[in-house]
Symmetry: C2
Subunit: 454 residues, 2 copies
Amino acid sequence: MAEKNVELIDLLKEYIAEGNLELLSLTLFHLHPADIADIFDQLDEDDLEKIFQLLDNEKAAYVLEQMDIHTQLYLFKRLSPDRVRELLDFMSYDDTADLLGELSEEEAKDFLAIMEQEEAAEVKDLLDYAEDSAGGIMTTEYVTVRMDITAEEAIRELRRIAPEAETIYYVYVVNEKEELVGVLSLRELIVAKPQALIQDIMRTNVISVDVATDQEEVARIVAKYDLLAVPVVDQEHRLVGIVTVDDIIDVIEEETTEDIYKLMGATEAFEERMPFLPGLTASVRARLPWLLITLLGGVLSGSIVRTFSDAINSIVALAYFMPLLAGMGGNVGTQSSTIVVRGLATGQISSSELLRNIMREGLIGSIIGLVVGLVVAGVAVLWQGMPILGFIVGVAMWANAMTAAIIGALVPLVFKKIGVDPAVASAPFISTTIDITGLTIYFSLVTLLISYLI
Amino acid sequence: MAEKNVELIDLLKEYIAEGNLELLSLTLFHLHPADIADIFDQLDEDDLEKIFQLLDNEKAAYVLEQMDIHTQLYLFKRLSPDRVRELLDFMSYDDTADLLGELSEEEAKDFLAIMEQEEAAEVKDLLDYAEDSAGGIMTTEYVTVRMDITAEEAIRELRRIAPEAETIYYVYVVNEKEELVGVLSLRELIVAKPQALIQDIMRTNVISVDVATDQEEVARIVAKYDLLAVPVVDQEHRLVGIVTVDDIIDVIEEETTEDIYKLMGATEAFEERMPFLPGLTASVRARLPWLLITLLGGVLSGSIVRTFSDAINSIVALAYFMPLLAGMGGNVGTQSSTIVVRGLATGQISSSELLRNIMREGLIGSIIGLVVGLVVAGVAVLWQGMPILGFIVGVAMWANAMTAAIIGALVPLVFKKIGVDPAVASAPFISTTIDITGLTIYFSLVTLLISYLI
């Protein structure tokens, strides 16, 4: 796909250079909005503006919805107020709200002023919800019917509303207070007898989410119940919106990326979605904090080594095994913490089974430690011809791997228990902690057995 | 949700103990199949068998589809052939194929023999495709129409087939050779004039995937074009199946988990999806290989330290900074590799922009290195009162962070270029490599400036 786009971009650029608007329009006409959006995100700004003018309003709106938010903003700020109004008319409310959410309050107001009054009001409501809540990702373009009409009438109503609605595959049933009382899939509606009353055929145990529900939880519910859309209700159980499955896929991708970055010790600056990566400053700002914290840990590790400097002074060979011990501990611990963090995210691990999970990881760590410890002990004996050094290094490696696995599992589980995001138990944090415990174990063994060493 | 389930499980267990089948049935009747599946996955086996008998075939089949594959297998092996036939009758072909795929060939044959002939043939076809290809995740329960009928006739046909189909929200148009020539969404069909011919209203540029397409690519296409299902065609462009969006969500979750585990240096043994984590042996087998490779790296690091043992012998303080240097390098490098691996997976980073991405990471690494290097140099001077040691440690830290970021970005990009899975550039691999380069930089500086140190 990427290669195909590169070719198309070159072709489109050629057409632009030649001023061949006819071929340009023809090419765009045959492309899917998602493909056009992909290409537009990669064009330089002058070309982008020129080509964008060739799209009719309906297609342009679909293309905009698929485009990176920054490219959207760039275009919107350069279009005439007339064009903006026409485009916003075709865009869905949730995408419009996402766009305006990126603007300053002043700028957003200007855009709202351009829009049709009714639409502006709907979008303004959406803007009030937290960005990562059900309210922040829902749209208000859903289909509702009253329960006292027939299936046939409902389908007729559906035909009428279809062009405005985000999905027509669920029809929501509300009472006179706008409370959500039932749901029917279009499938059930189509199969039902034409004269059947909605109230007799609707499902009444509707799966819905609250407007304040976190988007990750919304995604979990949609995935679990295999829904195409989930209705969103307010505190009074009034229907206020729906979240569709295509937005849920975006949420899943966004949340996973966030978790992965957190695991590596990068913070919020990465959270924003991006076709371009965050700028240099944002990157450094996101990555430095955890690194500085691990710096403290590194200094602590250093002072442990310093405490045992007499031992190193007598047997410099002790220093050879420091990178090996620290590295292995960090790796085992990071594996454990990653497995636990991911398990908590997907629901495979429950924080209520704290002890069982920690024992499990501890056991795995001690088996791994045994294998690795034996190998390292062998290396130590071969290198230095000192069996006692081999014994110390081997035992330290075994104890270190076990401790590392336990710490790796313990930290995210405890974080989860006390309400901290388990992904904060990032690799830098875990491996620095394990450097400290690992060196302590190693040099404690050395101190215990120093008389046999010298 | 988890807490709610715990309560429900206790309640169900109470009912079982009391032998209160009536209340048991009533509770199950009101629960969603996905919730029942969640609870069943956590019941002990005796209770599971007892309660399962209370479900009618249709609901039991839906519950089975949502259950962990191992629990499914457990139940199927214990049910009577009659019940098995009835249940398989209600299950969709793709779920049945997934189930039989877990069995030995002999066992699968037994199950196929029980099934109705036509169904058995369909499932057998599905079993032939690779598990992680479009063919392996598709189902054959889709709706097709000929292009010479009207919209009204198509809807009538849809009503007839609806109970058998996995989704009726897309109607696929095939010609006499069964080739896919068009598609219509139910939405378009409902809105169309009843007398309009399918061939006049269908979309002809159908987005489809080949039966051998990797499931990750299928997921990317469904996500990109916001589809509810994507048709699967064979080499002759004949329609052979569809993949629905609910299965795509499972694929995304599965592939992400796989990537995350790979980043941490765990191999295939984890790939299997699981409500229970893989067994101890599988875990150790998955995690040990990379650890043993890093062990080699660790030994190499050790021999670098050994080469410079004279320097350490003269100034033991040199050893204090080893954990700090190695740890920071590992962390910076792992951050870079993670960002690149994830960027490649989501398409935000293209391997064709090799140099640009590497320079970007190198720049970020050198900024981070500058900050961290200054802090560490300060610490070194304070600890040892030796400005020259501070200088060495600071410069080494800076060079180490920059090298680490470059290696972290370079390795996955090069892997991608030469066709190796970039996620193989795992944290253990990267951080071990960086241990080696970091120590080399550090001790080279030391050697250069040793005369000022002693």
